[in-house]
């Protein structure tokens, strides 16, 4: 009984196959992504909110009126991911960025594709890059990344 006992360790996975209903506003955003465009919504004071929300985050008033925005935009702020984790959208280094799309008053968090962090700057122009039409399924991954616009 005093003999050493091997202590067992094993890899476990806990997974839920979870679905959620998205509602009319996020639904319109996802439907737009499937069509290869980005949709915002107008808030109470005329600001365009992207991604769209059902209520104005500042006043709580109901939003109304979808607006197409982008596909170009500006990096408001960003963070470089040198060592992406397994569940990251890229296996190679990339930037998470808040991108304010042309025609929008709020920023969308998404991936900026860049070869190195030296290429990414606050204020840089980027363009949305979508999956090919047949691959888009109505989810945020349909917008696969933003790419830096060529500066000439």
């Amino acid at each position: 009984m005093a003999e050493p006992t091997e202590v067992y360790t094993s890899a476990h996975v806990l997974e839920y196959p979870y679905s959620r209903s998205v509602g009319p506003v996020i639904g319109a955003f996802l439907t737009g992504l499937r069509e290869g465009k980005i949709v915002g919504i107008r808030g109470e004071n005329g600001r365009v909110i992207v991604p769209p929300t059902e209520y104005d985050p500042e006043t709580g008033a109901e939003t109304s009126g979808f607006v197409d925005v982008g596909p170009g935009g500006v990096i408001e702020t960003w963070a470089w991911v040198e060592h992406p984790r397994d569940d990251a959208p890229r296996s190679t280094p990339f930037a998470w960025a808040l991108v304010r799309l042309d025609g929008a008053d709020t920023a969308l968090l998404h991936v900026v594709d860049a070869a190195s962090k030296d290429e990414v700057t606050t204020g840089a122009r980027v363009t949305a890059h979508f999956l090919d039409e047949g691959e888009r399924q109505g989810r945020i991954q349909d917008l696969c990344c933003f790419q830096l616009e060529e500066t000439s």
Partner: protein
């Protein structure tokens, strides 16, 4: 945009699976039970104070708060204390419904654990039913409770509920 896309229904649902990968370390006491499964036997531990036998053991008695060191090998025979008829299909189900999940009280043990009952129609299972463990073939034994395929009736007379009431 193609015509095909324009006639697609709007998006109303989103699949967002949640997944957590983690390592489970069993600890010394539970590892002894796990090693027991790999050897085709049930291994528990006895509390030195209340003498209760825990299988599997966590290494201490939750009542007396003392370490449990004495190892006890338990037999394959057991009693069904209570049970549940599973009629609901769910993702990942590997057994045909309806089937029985039962609280199994091994002879000589003082706590129950969950086990699958086979070899008897679901509507004939009852509290007090005598069962025995059926192990997987020797070459398939491993440090997991999956080494026990299921429990099946022994044919012995049922035990009176009063004899295992404290384990319900």
């Amino acid at each position: 945009m193609s015509d095909a896309l324009e006639i697609q229904e709007p998006v109303t649902m989103l699949s967002t699976p949640i997944r957590l990968n983690y390592d489970f370390t069993a600890g010394v006491a539970q590892s002894r039970s796990l090693r027991g499964y790999a050897e085709g036997r049930f291994v528990g531990q006895r509390c030195p104070v209340c003498k209760k036998v825990y299988v599997p053991s966590r290494g201490s008695c939750p009542v007396d708060a003392v370490p449990t060191k004495e190892e006890v090998v338990l037999p394959n025979t057991a009693t069904v204390t209570t049970f549940c008829v599973v009629n609901v299909p769910f993702a990942g189900q590997s057994i045909e419904i309806p089937y029985i999940t039962a609280s199994i009280l091994l002879d000589g043990a003082d706590i129950t654990f969950m086990g699958l009952i086979q070899g008897i129609p679901a509507d004939e299972v009852r509290m007090g039913l005598r069962v025995e463990a059926v192990w997987v073939p020797k070459e398939e034994l491993g440090p997991t409770l999956a080494s026990v395929k299921y429990f099946q009736p022994t044919g012995e007379p049922d035990r009176e509920i009063s004899t295992f009431r404290e384990h319900l």
